[in-house]
Symmetry: C2
């Protein structure tokens, strides 16, 4: 029979073991931080009833949806009635509306699952990718203090992820909307184009951006264009930015509301323990102009600006209006981990991790198998992830295995050592080995793993 070429579908990420371990550690870090901040886990099915999932979206989004049907249904010519989630927000909205009476509000959930989009296949674009989301959802209302909690979580997560310096940028969309109202810029399409051009202020001169704003396709008046740049082209420390906005004295209720909220978030961040080195108010951030209604966030890796935002989100007025009459305002953020992991790999920041296996008990003498099994049981009871090499291969082959698998510590005991009540621990990465009393193996190896090194000659463990 001809062999079938084993391969994965385009647009999926599948990792070799030591990369998978590195990925798993990032997932664990994110989850640990989300739980640390008092978020609880939620998982939803990978597919939803199609008309529940797609009630809102259409056009471009709908084209990217994957539909699911069983063989039987295809044969009978049915239209697919299941569709795979394309984000975690819609399933969460559906969940909260469905279980509203059973939930405690504010409902604080984290959700770390894969989502699916029929993207055109290209490098760094994924059809299946992880999103790691948190949201706080209130019933009827949700104080703006929750908006200040999000940067605290982002700060904690990215500090522990240890992927280099980063900066959280945030803004309040009411400031932008109020400004557009006050200037008489009404068309949403024009508003979007304006914000896109303002975003170029870090690359172009003020005059160049002014020319774009008054040019073809946007056609602001010279006065409007100058006002836009005066207002949101400002960049500086948070206190200065707030003072600048206040000085504008714009007579617009939405603008004043946004400024007030922004000031509250800035004030709370200090108490949340987020150092100002790691955040800034960025008046040019809008994150599209439909879904978010207040605070919006973007996060950038300082050394890798080309990645764009690696953690984004914002405040929304009403989560689940399609499914319930209850008003459910919320605020949340999302990390697209698959894409981030790919980018970090490309930048050489993530590497193969050491194996999650911490010790390999080798089989030096098949007659001592029962001893090796007992050593393995002791090590596991002491909390050491331990593999026992159960094939009677030559020692060189066993060490080669530990090396390839990324297992750092090998445990060796031959007949002579057994007679002396001793075991050897070999460090496969740093090199070197140390003799350990057989009866102290578990406690000593736990110490070695904790210290990431062998004990020095005569050192007490």
């Amino acid at each position: 029979m001809a062999l079938i070429t084993p391969r994965t579908p385009a647009g999926t990420m599948e990792l070799l073991p030591r990369r998978q371990i590195a990925f798993q550690r990032m997932l664990d870090t994110i989850r640990r931080n989300y739980e640390r901040f008092g978020f609880i886990p939620l998982e939803t099915p990978v597919f939803e009833v199609a008309d529940v999932l797609l009630s809102k979206s259409g056009g471009e989004t709908e084209k990217q949806v994957y539909f699911v049907q069983s063989t039987g249904a295809i044969e009978q010519g049915h239209k697919p009635d299941l569709a795979m989630r394309f984000d975690l927000t819609v399933p969460t909205a559906r969940y909260v509306a469905q279980h509203e009476r059973d939930l405690a509000f504010p409902f604080r959930r984290y959700q770390m699952q894969r989502v699916y989009r029929g993207e055109r296949a290209q490098k760094g674009r994924y059809r299946e990718f992880y999103q790691c989301d948190i949201d706080v959802i209130g019933k009827d209302s949700l104080p703006v203090a929750y908006d200040a909690e999000m940067p605290a979580v982002i700060y904690s997560v990215f500090t522990e992820l240890d992927v280099g310096p980063f900066q959280i940028n945030f803004n309040n969309r009411k400031i932008l909307l109020g400004m557009f109202e006050a200037l008489g810029v009404i068309d949403p399409g024009i508003r979007t184009l304006v914000l896109r051009q303002v975003d170029k202020l870090d690359k172009l001169s003020r005059d160049e951006v002014l020319a774009l704003l008054t040019g073809e396709g946007i056609a602001l008046s010279a006065g409007q264009a100058a006002s836009v740049l005066d207002m949101i082209g400002f960049s500086g420390p948070a206190a200065d930015t707030l003072a600048h906005l206040d000085r504008l004295g714009l007579d617009n209720a939405l603008f004043r509301e946004g400024l007030d909220e922004l000031a509250q978030v800035v004030a709370a961040l200090k108490a949340f323990g987020v150092p100002e080195t790691h955040w800034r108010v960025n008046l040019a951030i809008a994150r599209g102009l439909d879904y978010y209604t207040g605070t919006v966030y973007e996060t950038f890796l300082t050394d890798h600006p080309s990645l764009g935002s690696v953690c984004s989100g914002g405040r929304y007025e009403n989560l689940a209006g399609l499914y319930t009459k209850s008003k459910l305002p919320g605020v949340g953020i999302s990390i697209g981990l698959t894409r981030l992991f790919y980018a970090l790999e490309q930048a050489g920041i993530v590497q193969d991790g050491d194996s999650s296996v911490q010790a390999l008990v080798t089989q030096f003498d098949p007659a001592l198998l029962a001893d090796y099994l007992a050593m393995g049981a002791e090590l596991r009871a002491a909390g050491v992830n331990t593999e026992i090499y159960l094939s009677p291969d030559k020692p060189a082959k066993q060490f080669k295995y530990a090396d390839k698998a990324g297992i750092r510590f090998a445990v060796i005991m031959g007949g002579d050592e057994k007679a002396r009540g001793e075991v050897t621990v070999k460090d496969m990465i740093a090199g070197g080995q140390a003799g350990v009393r057989r009866e102290a193996l578990a406690t000593t190896l736990a110490w070695i793993i904790d210290q990431k090194r062998l004990p020095a000659e005569g050192e007490a463990v």
Copy 2:
């Protein structure tokens, strides 16, 4: 606009938060044990290229497969080229064949992901469900000692899952195949029927089973039927069972090989530290007659026999013959966690868990918000999962929230207490409260959570 009724597709499990937390804890327990035994994580995409996934299966299995296609492809009338995995074995076989040169053998992976089957919707049957698998895959060969490792993992997992007494049953299919060969029972269909009837020995008398074996549809001779029952109808301690099989003195190579392997597994189990109270040799276990070739496992919850096997698996000759010419023998087990969880819920064994949030810092006085935020940051730094209640609601509403959310410890500080340098910790489950020095809050609450109780009057913490 009319509201859409929020609902999940038939055959999916979606849990309320405190049930989800209980489920998550089971997943974590299984994973921790798999890692403890030196298995490394693997994740594969939820869908595979259809002709790679379905190269082998057909008929009944194929009807249960879910196919995936994007809107665009449906409109163009394409046949679906993606299919969702129906187990974790085929994706693992594909993975090992695809990455063979990059893997270290024996390749020991755990995989805990959801799989999909278009089952007929009924209670306790799922179209989306978790499988939690481990496998050890060798290159060319894999010693039978690895077969003895599996019950050690099962024992460790189910002991920690704490779902009541259980027993691991195992057998070796070579014994059954050898017996059938020796008795001249050749037809695989008849062999399957015979084993199904022998399985009834715990409910029917020997004579009744004999009648079934010689009756319509099977039609063994009286001599064959009696031999079958004499051979595999035996039940007793492992040593007696091995002696019994040896006494049969069956002149069949396959039978002798199976007996030898079974004896090796039995001998190694003691060294692996699995007490004989928790396992037995069960000669009637076969697990179908196609895939497994040697040792086979089933695990039963003693108090809930009707659940059937909750953890099954076995040894196979060659994992990935469809994708590679390399010979890759392996042994593995699988826990169908979604189905198990459902059954344990029905039996009243799993309940709502305490929240993963360990402490709620309440907001007694909005003027002290900065203090509450600082307390939250200290608690998190001490490893306590902490939520800060950020809405200025009445205390009664905040306590009601903690209660509904299952958060055990509430932290309270008003102006007077602040002046005294004190904080109150309230136990929402056991009742009672204790005063704690403000500066010792984090260490004291970590102690309280560890001890699951408040300190007694004057007790040193």
